[in-house]
């Protein structure tokens, strides 16, 4: 039976288990949107306020659910508006399929209306991308797109589909999803790893997003207990272990905990699991490597020895590698090391300058949350405070932009995550700067009746920029003080959401008590402009350079 290109897209989405897509229509995708209209009972389409929001929503959907997110936009500006969202997914290895329309095939390359070379534009920030110039290739290309996005080290794939391809007819043969357990390049010797672990007196685990991606939380916990190794987490790995686990030292790196920095510096074996050694996590690489063996395990061979040379590198799926190690490694006893880590964790104290501080605000909100509440953030000081003070207990409950550091990510991500988990309680920690970038998506949360609580840590400035200007630019606050007069509570009301202003913990609690079951709420929390993210290891520094007050 012959089907149109648009019908084939719908069939391929359904075959790959897609039930929800995020997007924004336009002339180059009208045939596809006509089919989405006819297939509304099979695929739910969420229209956002801006294409960037749709891309972040698809990303948030993928992070919360573990499924591949899908975003659909028209050509030209529709396509360029999702570039940030695609790059964001690429840097954090989030599985995403982006479908863009384009002008008819004969008009390609002629600077036609709303024509851009989106395949050229996105090339450095996708795992792969395709232009469909022949309808006979359409089904196969979509099949490949889902296979590539969801296999190995996950990431975004873009498929550019000209409008006339969507209307042409061809015989469609259903292509079932590929087995996503793609072959992984074998590299490294497990025996060497086992010997290093057995010979280590002070092992330390640095765990990241790869643990979450491979669903290896249980294995990581067991591994840490078995070999008596405390764990520091990268930002992408924040939900890889429960915060309540006694050897979870929290985030490591530039804005990580002091306990993680000290334990890391005292370790003789650093076991890196599913991380890429971002310079934000390592600081000075020579100091980082000194006096310890580095065992690096990652699914992407090109990450081994890329940023930090390792003595032992193993390429493989984290869950499988950990299971193999657990099959062999005996239970160890290591009281002195265990006590040292526990003592450092227990003495972690971070001063707050006043009662209504970022710490007390986040702690108050966390008491109102359940263990499976989705936490989204934007980027900046509030993001780091969330990592330091929010107790993440369950995997995939955090939606945050780690690699790209995208201000304006949070609102779209909260929407996508909330929808993915069937309208689960969702909190977005944001700031006046970040929220200002994509607050238009509040309209989407209203129209979709999503129970998202937006907590704005409002310091009237770009806090992280200001902090660096205080510390490294002698207080020259170039363009970081905003002088805006936005009334976020009134703005929320204008959007059809509920708005509150809370200047005390009591007011914050009152607002949270009134959080609606249906529809979003915004709580504007004014905080001191000079609140800082501490501790901090300056760029390129090491544990000796840590600034704690």
């Amino acid at each position: 039976m012959k089907r149109s290109g648009a019908q084939i897209i719908i069939e391929q989405l359904c075959v790959h288990g897609v039930t929800t897509v995020f997007g924004y229509p336009g002339s180059a995708v009208l045939p596809l949107y006509d089919e989405l209209y006819k297939n509304a009972h099979r695929i739910r389409h969420i229209i956002t306020a801006h294409e960037q929001g749709a891309a972040h929503a698809a990303d948030g959907y993928a992070r919360a659910s573990g499924k591949t997110g899908v975003v659909i936009t028209t050509s030209g500006p529709g396509a360029t508006n999702i570039v940030t969202g695609i790059a964001n997914a690429y840097l954090d290895s989030v599985p995403l399929v982006a479908i863009t329309g384009n002008v008819d095939v004969p008009l390609l390359g002629k600077d036609s209306f709303q024509e851009v070379d989106i395949v050229g534009i996105t090339q450095p920030v996708v795992k792969h991308n395709f232009v469909v110039r022949d309808i006979e290739e359409l089904a196969f290309i979509l099949h490949e797109a889902f296979r590539i996005a969801g296999s190995g080290r996950k990431g975004p794939v873009l498929v550019d589909i000209p409008r006339d391809i969507q209307t042409k007819l061809c015989t469609y043969q259903e292509m079932k999803p590929a087995d996503t357990a793609a072959p992984i390049q074998k590299h490294g010797d497990l025996q060497e790893a086992i010997q290093a672990i057995k010979g280590s007196k002070r092992p330390y685990i640095y765990a990241g997003g790869g643990v979450v991606a491979s669903g290896a939380q249980e294995e990581l916990l067991e591994f840490s207990r078995r070999i008596c190794a405390p764990v520091g987490l990268s930002m992408m790995g924040m939900t890889a272990l429960p915060a309540s686990y006694e050897w979870n030292l929290g985030m490591c790196g530039m804005h990580g905990t002091e306990a993680a920095a000290i334990v890391e510096s005292e370790s003789d074996l650093l076991i890196a699991l599913g991380v890429r050694f971002s310079e934000r996590a390592t600081g000075d690489i020579e100091a980082y490597r000194k006096n310890r063996t580095i065992l690096h395990i990652d699914i992407d061979l090109s990450e081994i020895d890329k940023n930090v040379p390792s003595q032992i590198g193993i390429c493989g799926d984290i869950k499988e590698v950990l299971r193999s190690l657990l099959d062999t490694l005996p239970q160890r006893e290591n009281n002195a090391w265990q006590q040292r880590a526990a003592q450092l964790k227990s003495t972690q104290n971070v001063s707050s300058q006043n009662n209504f501080s970022p710490k007390s605000i986040i702690e108050t909100v966390s008491r109102y949350c359940r263990s499976d509440t989705l936490i989204a953030t934007d980027v900046g000081q509030h993001q780091i405070w969330t990592m330091l003070y929010y107790p993440f207990e369950k995997c995939r409950t955090l939606l945050t932009s780690g690699g790209l550091g995208t201000m304006g990510y949070g609102m779209g991500a909260a929407i996508g995550g909330c929808i993915a988990m069937g309208g689960r309680q969702t909190v977005l920690f944001t700031s006046d700067g970040s929220f200002g970038m994509n607050l238009c998506e509040l309209a989407t949360a209203v129209s979709q009746e999503l129970p998202i609580v937006v907590v704005i840590l409002n310091n009237q400035s770009l806090g992280m920029v200001r902090q660096w200007q205080t510390m490294f630019y002698e207080g020259r606050y170039s363009q970081s003080t905003l002088h805006r007069k936005t009334d976020f509570a009134a703005l929320a009301d204008a959007f059809g959401a509920i708005g509150y202003k809370a200047a005390t913990l009591q007011e914050l609690e009152n607002a949270l008590q009134n959080a609606p079951k249906v529809g979003p709420m915004v709580i504007d929390c004014p905080i001191n402009i000079d609140e800082k993210v501490l501790p901090m290891i300056p760029p390129g520094g090491c544990v000796e350079d840590i600034i704690t007050s």
């Binding site: 395949v119 050229g120 090339q123 450095p124 795992k127 792969h128 232009v131 490949e144 590539i148 390049q185 992407d300 061979l301 090109s302 081994i304 020895d305 890329k306």
Partner: protein, 84 residues
């Protein structure tokens, strides 16, 4: 810096050369010479790329190139020292 040659078997279609040279360009590695030929099987092309870099760069290039969808085989050619 030491010269090194990478041999690639790649899909023979538009855009592939761009993806490969883009990978070199993003890391700031100049391509000293580039050779592309269709193989006996027209689905594939063979590329020979001469560039400069130490062992770290050579390993990174092989691993990064291996990740490209259109790249089927990557070989780091041994440096040949031959005199008659």
């Amino acid at each position: 810096m030491e010269k090194f040659t990478i041999e690639l078997i790649v899909a023979n279609r538009y855009g592939v050369l761009n993806r490969i040279t883009g990978l070199y360009a993003r890391r700031g590695y100049n391509i000293d010479s580039l050779n592309v030929n269709e193989t006996a099987d027209p689905q594939f092309s063979r590329m020979l790329i001469v560039s400069r870099g130490d062992a770290y760069i050579q390993t990174q290039m092989v691993r990064q190139l291996s990740k490209l969808y259109d790249v089927k085989e990557v070989t780091l050619m041994a440096t040949v020292n031959f005199k008659k």
